[in-house]
Symmetry: C2
């Protein structure tokens, strides 16, 4: 089949996982002689409120825990997460960031043909290829606001053994409506196809628009949901993610995971931070308000084309009359880093992504963009 | 071949990686209603001097680093390690503890038939099996002081594609002499066989007896050396290990490693602690002295059979007239945990391992053992 690209056939875009991500401040420090303390980083979409106080206090009180191995079964840690999301401990695995699972899953489930809507997070493709599996990329289109077309996916189910989906999608921010994601979950279940939904940004989504697959876990044999504390709790350095699925599936994946994947500091911080309801609520309220305001401000910029209102904590744009490289360069000179989306499969040098940051930082970005007429 | 056990054929001993290790204090807390603060843990072989001050100060000054992704290339971290061991950065990969590499290597190198001298650390077998590879176990014998017989290994080189070796070996403490390990490295190189040497305990070995494969890295195409900060710097909770090999091999393995494997706290701590020469020297001096003393004391215990003088920071014994389970139970009632070696392939319920701990703790153990006559 022409559209089923094997690892060998497919080479339009060579990906190098380590050059593929935002947050690489070091590169900008070197290239632009910037002082890291003064960089405003819009290239990674993290909670703009900074650290929860519980993170600091937890680290300070548990420094000595580094002299012990983490609990190899992560009993308490899994229970904390289970309480937080409303499932049972046995439905959870914890990992060294969510990306650890992206690499384990294709191997543990012997994935051979994966369907991946694009553009999306590049690690699904990298991980699938490491398993010598083929990837079927389903393109989403600008003219459709990068809608992930569930009907189109369902029509391909006979040709794949798995689907890798990001919801809300990175970098486009597209959020699949509730009835559509439920329909897809049901159809995958009927067909025995693994459905992997990466929900690392879903906690930023408004409750009323948000539909997580977690509620379906018990009923479905082949559904896996990925979550992380990285973005919502602003702790990318600690490396803590988790995977949710039915017990049988979780056990299978567990076999392929090395022991002690989560370090003991992340273990302690997670237990504490998931109970910081004040921080959690403040974040939700802030993001909801600032997302709308920032989006409206960006709409005024003539050389930007925006799509649907953003769902998570980042805003995806197309550039008119200038390239992502030009914009990145322009902003870097002001100490601002944004995500150049040209290395996403399915995009080109016309797309960028901005994290939603503190109001004054967002305003600084707007001000610079506003002045850039030519 | 009868001795080449495939994953399917081999089932004499079912291993569950998560039940296979020392350091599982929680289990003893539950089983014996012990207070974790009062447990003396001889079951994991960590530096008995406790934490280097550099660990605490480093964590305290870099808490905010958790809000950034670790450097995806780990440039500074690799340079620190390169300086410490005297190789180039390009010969190093850093990982989430050394065990991350044990799981990646069989996959990245497409290992099909691995030779593993036993008894040894169980994760080599687990990792090899996950790759659906066969394992050829070469047994070492009590009557030979559990000597790893290099000549015997060399005779099997035509039948395997890789060797997984632990030097000094866990749990027996057997250290391969310099000329023998060099001979093995040379023969593996000639035959194109991957030689993986786990040296996570080698820094505890006396300089004059120690021979590390690191010096051979540049010359050899298929040699990999594994190291860790866990044991020597007493930081099992932080999760930091590293792999050393020639550039081509390191690049190959790098492809299979997810990004951001080492958390940002471990990243900072490592850079600082490797320069703590005071702590490093104190450790070496202490271990050398206390190892000899503790060994001599244990020799007096009538129901223990000891082997060669210990090389690392643990002592391996055989029990006469009683079982490892009885001894573990006896000691647990005194708040002491030791490593029951009955679940090592190639051993039975007659073997235990004691970490070398603080003098007063070692004396407490000796005192209890001394009184246990029946």
């Amino acid at each position: 089949m022409k559209w089923l690209l094997s690892v060998e056939q497919e080479s339009q875009k060579k990906l190098n996982k380590k050059y593929c991500h935002g947050g690489n401040i070091r590169k900008f420090e070197e290239d632009y002689k910037l002082n890291s303390g003064k960089i405003i980083d819009f290239s990674v979409s993290l909670n703009p409120l900074g650290l929860s106080n519980k993170v600091k206090s937890s680290i300070l009180t548990t420094i000595d825990s580094v002299t012990h191995y983490p609990d190899v079964f992560y009993k308490d840690l899994k229970e904390s997460i289970a309480d937080y999301i409303g499932v049972k401990s046995k439905n959870i695995l914890v990992g060294n960031g969510s990306v650890e699972f992206i690499y384990i899953i294709p191997r543990a489930l012997s994935i051979k043909r994966a369907l991946i809507p694009i553009p999306t997070f590049s690690e699904y493709e990298s991980a699938v290829k490491l398993n010598s599996a083929g990837a079927l990329f389903i393109k989403t289109y600008e003219k459709e606001n990068f809608k992930i077309d569930v009907d189109k996916i369902v029509k391909k189910l006979n040709f794949v053994d798995s689907i890798f989906l990001c919801n809300p999608n990175n970098p486009t921010g597209y959020l699949i409506p509730k009835d559509e994601i439920l329909f897809l979950i049901k159809r995958c279940d009927e067909k025995g196809i693994y459905l992997f939904i990466d929900e690392v940004f879903i906690e930023f989504v408004d409750e009323k628009y948000r539909f997580s697959g977690i509620k379906e876990i018990k009923k479905r044999k082949n559904l896996l949901i990925l979550r992380s504390l990285t973005k919502f709790f602003n702790i990318p350095g600690l490396r803590i993610g988790y995977l949710i699925g039915n017990e049988r599936l979780i056990k299978k994946i567990d076999e392929f995971q090395p022991p002690w994947s989560v370090n003991s500091i992340a273990e302690d911080v997670t237990k504490n931070v998931l109970k910081d309801f004040n921080y959690i609520n403040k974040t939700k309220v802030y993001i909801k308000k600032e997302r709308q305001r920032f989006f409206n401000e960006l709409k005024r910029i003539k050389f930007l084309k925006l799509f649907l209102p953003p769902s998570a904590n980042f805003i995806f744009c197309k550039l008119k009359d200038r390239t992502s490289n030009e914009l990145c360069d322009k902003l870097a000179k002001h100490g601002i880093i944004i995500r150049d989306c040209s290395n996403f499969r399915g995009l080109n040098n016309k797309y960028v992504r901005f994290a939603i940051r503190k109001k004054e930082e967002n305003d600084k970005l707007i001000k610079i963009l506003d002045k850039w007429n030519y």
